[in-house]
Amino acid sequence: MPLLLIAALLMAVSGAPGLARASARRRRGADAVQPAGDAGTERVATALLLAGAILGIVAVVAGLLGRGPHSVSASWAVPGGLFELRLDALSSVFILPVMLVVAAGAMYGPGYRPVREGARHGAGFRFFYGLAAGALPVLLTAQGTLLFLAAWEILALCGFFLVSTDDDQPAVRRAGYLYLVSTHTATLALLGMFALLGGGDPWLRLPAAGSLPAGGAATAVFSLGLLGFGLKAGLVPLHVWLPSAHAAAPTHASALLSGLMIKIGVYGLMRLISFYAEVPAWWGWTLLGAGALSAVAGVSLALAQHDIKRLLAYHSVENIGIIVMGLGLATLGRAAGAPALVALGLGGALLHVINHGLFKALLFLAAGSAIRASGTRELERMGGLLRRQPWTAVFFLIGAVAICGLPPLNGFVSEWLIYRAALTAAHHQIMGLALAVLAAPALAVVGGLALACFVKVFGVVFLGSPRENSPTTSAEATRGMRSAMALLAAGCVGIGLAPLALAPLLRAATAEWAPAIAAAGAIAAEGVSGGLREAAWLSAAAGLLLVPMLVIAAWLRRRGRIAARGVPTWGCAFAAPAPRAQYTASSFADGLVSTFAPGRSLERTSPPALFPAPARVLSHHPDLALDRLLLPGWRLTARLFVRVRAVLHNGLTSAYLLYVALTLLVLLIIFGGK
């Protein structure tokens, strides 16, 4: 555990030398307003981040093997302050992807935002990236609520500065503002939650798992926790800030935000539920419903996007939904005393936390490389990148297959566990619990939509021929960027082929989450160990799948006779198809979008002329929660308050005196009796 603290400190200070150097140079007047940093301090930052990540992984592995102390504490001279960090299996599950993704981001950054190109706010960006990376392990191991909330706030502010790095664009400023408002609403809810948890005093030590009795303020605590953590995690309809924020940030910051930062919401929910000795069933149903809604709505809206980063951000909403579905099934299992449901549901949710961190970061990094090569984030302008970026394409393909939950990669393993949890519910004789089986077809809808979406993205971006002449010179990603993607891709493939390696970690984390069921020995008997042992079969199936494929491919390569090469694609008797005539992303998704996420608005500007003239069509897909519900609602409220203010603030001193007198009178009536 001290090792983990050192790692966190290393990462947190990684950007400080660069920031100091940059501000010193600005004082001398070298950089005008945007300190870009310099190559030397950038190398220092990268080295510190990598060292921190490696140390962190060592610390987590050592913790799992039971080496070294599990907790570290120090005195903290703050009222209510409790500086104690404790590393357990549940925290380890969340810290493991942090280290991998941060390491990948550190390798990726120098190639993606080169110092010599004067990337905006380079030094500040690296500082906040490192600080966020350092705050994550602290938050995930904090034992006191003050420390937890402090780390939470540091992360929230780092997130704001990362999102608004390119603040010369109005869209980025708007995204940053929306993010800031949302994250502080979440903080407010958490403050209330901790106050209720501590019976009025919010500064306390986090309760041990299974130590709180049900009843009392539990309902209010859960509701506030769902609001606060759900806002952070991006559960529908609290996801409104997520797509724009994650699309606005520089790519490897998006990977950090999307792959890691939103997981702290999931972590909070898991911890919160684990505090209670018994949980009511409606918590499970609420989580299951919210998860299913997030998953379906997230993937449907993702399908409608044509900005590649916004699309990936919406997929985070979907994957958070899948994780929360697993958590909901596990909660239902705890409420009904069904160990198999707990083991499979929570095991799947936890594994999906790791998996989503890996493949979402991989997808963001590969997308960033594609954006660099084509100079745009618009899917409709890309195309044919596989020829110019063979490596990036392979990495994106691995990420795409993984996020669709297809065998033999890691995404399948976690979804398989959650599916099994849902199908196990079918065997329960209680009608109420058996209904949870409907999570399985919901997951199937999500899987089908995700597949459609990623076939679309991969096909439109990397296959076919380029739709426009792309302006940039450099094509394939730099070596640093490639190794970053290779690291994450190796994680995806490794977990997919040998999922059993993570079984002890998941088993320990599940036992910590549901100590009562673990103490009864039920998890060991029928749940996790049995459930995860089956995962070895997945390795066998993957081998059975890959070996014949390689044999057939090799056979085709050796024996297949090429009759003609370099001929044009058959255009169905149309001789001169232009690259722009290729099927577009919007057309590809249109059928599904109109079924699952109706509401696309088309804006046509075509001059009324006898003969064809150039015309423009703009398609925009509104987010139902933000654009149709929240924004009009806020506007209405604002107008209402303007009206009220016009009446109350009438400029008459006597009226103001009347308000003061009335207020005093009311206060006297209320508190005068005491």
Binding site: Y419, L423, P441, A444, G459, C572
Partner: protein, 303 residues
């Protein structure tokens, strides 16, 4: 065990194209034609095998990966599935999910291979394929939910075990609904009338065939062989539900399995002969309707 596995592989690999021949013969009989020989699919595959491959200049290795995945997946999936009474050699809790997702993997790569050509027609086909699959997949899962409720495990061997014969008595209504729903899924997934017409001459109206317009020679052969294997594997699910007979004799069981597949091929041929093809816009409506019917089946069995 080894004998059973080998026998199952031989049954699948050798007899799958025969189903296509039987379907074609049934349709010919309905139309009053003599029709092609039943073994014609084999000759077609052999012809394609000997041809050369034409490769478009826009394509990459993805174009080659599509057919390879499309032919491997049904074989691996068949290892998870009891073929008639011949139990699956690869069986573990939750293999039913792997079974469903393997076909999704094949769909990913065939659709990607279609997009790799850069042809807008093939893009259209890929879009339709993934769209209809999205709507068909929940139905398949709901069918497995019904089977899971009736069985006491989550392996395909358990779901499609011999207990189904007794289950027809207790939950016959649900099973009948699910058989109908799975039949719809089978027809959609295998590009049969009324959802898709493999023999149409107009690219604009095709779904599955248009995705493989640019594949030729052995690559096209692999795709067609893979399609035949897929038909047999998915057909085995339905026929096992309809005919849950275990005789205990290996060769008799194999015979019953083949007979079931023959009957299924005749049924498909009959459906193709007596129904007109649906308009494309109607297909999603039918699929959503099928999903709802499957939900009813689940409700009936959960009550």
């Amino acid at each position: 065990m080894i004998v059973t596995t080998l026998l199952r592989l031989v049954l699948l690999l050798a007899f799958a194209p025969l189903m296509l021949g039987v379907i074609a013969r049934t349709k010919a009989a309905f139309a009053g034609r003599q029709g092609a020989p039943v073994l014609q699919p084999y000759w077609d595959l052999g012809r394609l095998w000997r041809k050369g491959i034409v490769v478009s200049r826009t394509t990459t290795w993805i174009f080659w990966a599509g057919p390879v995945v499309a032919v491997t997946v049904p074989v691996v999936a068949s290892l998870l599935l009891p073929m008639g009474a011949l139990a699956a050699p690869l069986s573990f809790e939750g293999d039913v999910i792997l079974f469903v997702y393997l076909f999704a993997l094949a769909r990913f790569f065939t659709a990607a291979a279609a997009l790799d050509t850069g042809s807008s027609f093939e893009g259209m086909g890929a879009a339709r394929e993934v769209t209809f699959a999205c709507l068909a997949e929940p139905t398949l899962l709901l069918g497995f939910v019904v089977l899971a409720r009736l069985a006491d495990g989550l392996t395909l061997n358990a779901l499609l075990g011999a207990h189904l014969a007794a289950a027809w008595g207790s939950s016959g209504a649900s099973l009948a609904l699910i058989v109908v729903c799975l039949m719809v899924v089978l027809l959609v997934e295998n590009a049969r009338i009324p959802f898709d017409d493999p023999n149409t001459h107009l690219e604009l109206t095709m779904i599955h065939e248009v995705m493989v317009l640019d594949h030729s020679g052995p690559l096209l052969g692999l795709i067609q062989y893979g399609a035949a294997l897929k038909l047999m594997v998915l057909g085995a699910v339905i026929m096992r539900m309809v005919l849950p007979v275990d005789t205990g004799n290996l060769w008799l069981d194999a015979g019953i399995f083949l007979g079931g597949q023959f009957v299924l091929a005749v049924v498909i041929g009959t459906i193709e002969s007596v129904m007109a093809r649906l308009r494309l816009a109607r297909v999603p409506q039918i699929l959503v309707g099928t999903t709802l019917v499957a939900v009813f089946a689940v409700v009936l069995v959960l009550r």
